[in-house]
């Protein structure tokens, strides 16, 4: 698909949980995203753009929503941006979550921390195609919990776990899954590497979305490459063939 570097207008940029923000951007890219894709944002004064996943898009209103966690200089500068300001957005980037419209089946959507956001649109699309969707989200503490209302708006009550037990189930999200006796065999997951490894051990079928440092974001620079798990010498660019991969496809360093 053709890429665009569009000038989006920030409509909203607010704190929704500990160090976690929601940015809403108005721009034509809203009509061109698929679930699990991302954009590369130009941030004033920085050399490298910051890749951020698309959490939700509203083509009719021309809006797209990004949830992001402030982890370093780039995201800190993003958090200081104000509604009305413009932002350069390169997209749509990457290969997102594939959905087979012909064979709906029960699906478990698993989010960890900042990985919860990108699953909103994914859950929405899965439901649209008739998949029975359950959602489980894990966070460190109750202060980190976000996106719950987004899933409720889709008619899904997400199960929540916190590492310290301050909200929902006391434990990690994999333990929450065991406690719920989930029967779905197909999973869609996004979260920290540790969680994705556990998901890959527990489930055989489904997709995981990776988060790694990138530069160009479009497949040219080879900054974000992972080896194929089976084929010697074969590799995948997280920004191009990913960030979403089938379970068991790539080696997570």
């Amino acid at each position: 698909m053709k890429l665009t570097d569009e000038t989006g207008i920030i409509k909203e940029n607010i704190l929704v949980a500990a160090d976690t923000y929601r940015m809403v951007i108005k721009g034509d890219l809203s009509r061109r995203f698929g679930p699990g894709q991302f954009v590369n944002l130009l941030i004033d004064g920085l050399t490298l753009r910051r890749p951020i996943s698309i959490s939700r898009y509203e083509p009719e209103e021309g809006l797209y929503v990004l949830y992001y966690k402030v982890l370093g200089e780039g995201t800190a500068r993003m958090a200081a941006m104000k509604p009305g300001e413009s932002i350069q957005v390169l997209g749509p980037l990457g290969t997102g979550f594939p959905i087979d419209p012909a064979h709906p089946e029960p699906v478990l959507v698993i989010g960890g921390g900042a990985g919860a956001g990108p699953l909103i649109q994914t859950a929405r699309e899965l439901r649209k195609w008739g998949y029975p969707v359950s959602v489980v989200l894990g966070f460190p503490t109750k202060d980190d919990v976000y996106a719950v209302e987004e899933f409720r708006a889709l008619g899904i009550e997400p199960g929540i776990s916190t590492d310290d037990g301050s909200f929902g189930y006391h434990g990690n999200v994999l333990e929450l899954i065991e406690s719920r006796k989930e029967t779905a065999r197909l999973v869609y997951a996004c979260g920290p590497k540790r969680m994705l490894r556990a998901v890959e051990e527990r489930f055989e079928r489904g997709y995981i979305s990776l988060d790694v440092r990138m530069a160009c974001g479009m497949g040219a620079c080879m900054a974000c490459v992972c080896r194929d798990r089976k084929e010697p010498g074969a590799y995948h660019r997280v920004c191009k063939e990913g960030p979403v991969f089938p379970i068991g496809r790539v080696v997570m360093e």
Binding site: L42, L48, Y235
Partner: protein, 326 residues
Amino acid sequence: MSARASAERRREDRGKPPLEKIDLSVRLPGLKLKNPIMPASGCFGFGREFAQLYDLSLLGGVIMKAATEQPRFGNPLPRVAETPGGMLNAIGLQNPGVDEIIRSQVPWLRQFDTCIIANVAGSSQEDYVRTAEKLGNCPGVDALELNISCPNVKEGGIAFGTDPQVAGRLTEAVKGVSGVPVYVKLSPNVTDVVEIAKAVEQGGADGLSMINTLLGMRLDLKTARPVIANKTGGLSGGAIKPVAIRMIYQVYEQVDIPIIGMGGIRTAEDVLEFLYAGASAVAVGTMNFTDPYICPKLAEQLPKTLRSYGLGSVKEAIGKSHRVKE
């Protein structure tokens, strides 16, 4: 623009050639460049991704990602990090190998009306020569850029670019097998860049490419570990521009072969500064990540910039700083 501003603009432009008459073309060994702007090796892949954004025929040339004899996977992740005014990278020369590049990338690039420069890397003189022989006789390839300056691989790369004798010998060997002119890409990680430049000129280089990245490092305060998995990486971006300008200026005075200049170019004014220092053409690297349209933008803006400094062509600007009286 207000009426007054446009009147002032007209007054400024009086006596200057019209923009379309500004001559951007440059002729270098093996290269008839329509303009002096090229994406630098390693920041542009083989152009396929950027071709989704603009017509590569707008470029003076394309310098392809480094080719090695065998496919290379490169270094562990993370391979990149932001730095003040730039970035560090330690990709590690990941590439599909020379045969695959000749089979699938060069023929694809040939559809565009632009020069093709193939960057050649290696880990021994023998494999450098075998790779250069293949690419230096590949239809569509107009010149080689001999990469003796990659700081991110254990063997080869920079080891060939820090010893004048080794650099000279390798240049001579590669010249012996290449059917097209050879530009040697120099490392800034040396005490005396002029010495290396002279050695490769002696070895028969048709031109120089300078500079490659500066060896750097960043530490993560939370983990106390290097941010880049390879520990060290190559520093690039605006922060290194003064180093590049200084080295090109010094080398221009001491060698007779043309220089392709690179290192932190972000604006058309930067391009002009490189030309003044002695570059005959330029390559843009890191800025492609900040603004993927930067190369065609610079090609478009350069005529105006040249004219605003009273120049009618790129040729007039090359080495200008060496001709002004003190």
